[in-house]
Symmetry: C2
Subunit: 297 residues, 2 copies
């Protein structure tokens, strides 16, 4: 697909929005980049970094010339941005997003558009960091990472090709699946782990003298709790919008914890060891898959 | 304390035992190092690596000349090693260990010795890795890490000084506390996180097609589950011997999960956001403490 002379507009200048602009700036020099944000400081910074031709807080100013619109805002802000963008969208404009919950994005779009436009294709780059904000953005964030696109019944082949091509320019590998399948898989690999990590650190945070506990924590604790440093608003929205899948997984998880607790109580070393061996084997396989997929993240 | 001409014997040639030998080899060249293990291959390797003057599977051969005996075996193997060592121990020999549960080590020693010797001082280096075995050992494993010593009522000041001095030679910082306090703190910072991580990965491992789930897992999942790659036998023993503290913490944790589940069910964004903010603040503080403590592990 020819991207030259395309105008791509990112709405929301956080880690993901900033990193998309940086990646395209490097890998798609013919593309005109624009940023829309309420964050005047980030806008100024993106402009000073020479990332964008237009940095504005006005959707009206940016959208009419836009060929690809990428919403890089929290899940629960998508509907508002779509509603405010709608009057300025051309019929050929492609619209995508980067949110972690795809079912909710489709629901929001249906509320705004009624019948979904053929240029609308939700997406989610499986890349990120516990760091957030424009200042943390880097051009290689998506390099060798997967991006999941979840076309709707009305998404055109052209929209799939164009948005896939755009992501490939950032170094990502594109996979297609249904929104429902995406939300199940991400519930397991991302949403549940974040909930568990937040819960663990909060358990300590509520105790007096938790600084002392942290003094004796090592690398294992550090890694286990890294994701508890993630953006609270973004994750609030994720659990509000993928709650059903998360709770189903959480129930299974608590069931698993009850089994382990019972094994500890009856001093059942065989059960514990078998569980840990099975987990270790799966984790070792994951290490293998992950290191094949990329050298690092 | 003068360590020159001391003979230090490590029993058990895994990650910790091997790393102690490597650290002392570099930092205490006047000390005579010995290794006892059932693992003939590791013994041969330690001898070939020129780490030890004596590599043997015989306690009888190694212990009579030993000034400091360090047990680097799983918790539930300590009693057997103490029993087999007892006939060869001199009254002045210092005996310590590296196990993750200190209450159980003291119980085992009481079963073997009756009254605990003045040279007996349990210890635990807060350092490790999901990697295990002699092949993973490195001389800098303890550098800027904490080592907790838990003297008993009968431990002599000389034993505390000498074993502290030995650990300081490896680059570690020594802290003293009671065995009970140790087991509470480590239950929180290490034992519970390991149980939660094992449970998470096992939940997936029991499902068909979990390879596909792993394909879409990113760095957050990788870090959250890193400790699920830890040694199953060592961790079986830890939960069998620090079960009470772990279960108390686990119950509190499951309670916290129930609160979060209820908040998701009633779509209580304020509760979720407040929890995540509190956790993030605590985690950010931990990052600060951890990076002060060491540059990396």
């Amino acid at each position: 697909m020819k991207m030259n002379n395309y105008t791509i507009t990112v709405v929301g200048l956080g880690l993901i929005g900033g990193s998309i602009l940086r990646a395209l700036k490097v890998n798609a020099p013919g593309v005109r980049l624009q940023a829309v944000s309420r964050d005047k400081q980030a806008l100024q910074q993106a402009f000073n970094d020479n990332l964008v031709k237009l940095a504005t807080s006005s959707l009206e100013e940016a959208i009419p010339s836009t060929d690809v619109l990428i919403l890089c805002v929290p899940v629960l802000t998508v509907e508002e941005i779509l509603r405010l963008s709608k009057p300025w969208l051309r019929s050929t404009t492609l619209v995508t997003d980067v949110c972690s919950v795809k079912g909710e994005v489709i629901k929001a779009a249906k509320r705004v558009f009624g019948t979904l436009p053929s240029g609308f294709i939700p997406g989610h780059p499986i890349a990120g960091s516990e760091k957030s904000g424009y200042a943390a953005s880097i051009p290689e964030l998506f390099s060798q990472r997967r991006v999941i696109l979840t076309p709707t019944d009305t998404t055109s082949e052209e929209a799939i090709s164009a948005v896939s091509a755009m992501w490939e320019l950032t170094g990502a590998q594109v996979a297609l699946m249904s929104a429902d399948q995406h939300d199940q898989i991400l519930g397991a690999t991302s949403h549940l782990p974040h909930l568990l990590s937040y819960a663990m650190v909060d358990l300590f945070a509520k105790q007096a003298h938790h600084e002392e506990i942290f003094l004796y924590a090592a690398g294992g604790f550090r890694d286990f709790t890294r994701i508890a440093g993630s953006d609270p608003v973004m994750w609030r929205d994720i659990f509000l919008t993928n709650g059903e899948a998360t709770i189903r997984l959480l129930d299974n998880y608590v069931e698993e914890l009850h089994e382990l607790k019972a094994a500890i109580q009856r001093a059942d070393g065989d059960h514990l060891e078998a569980t840990f061996r099975r987990a270790k084997a799966a984790r070792d396989m994951f290490t293998e898959i992950f290191s094949r997929k990329s050298s690092d993240q």
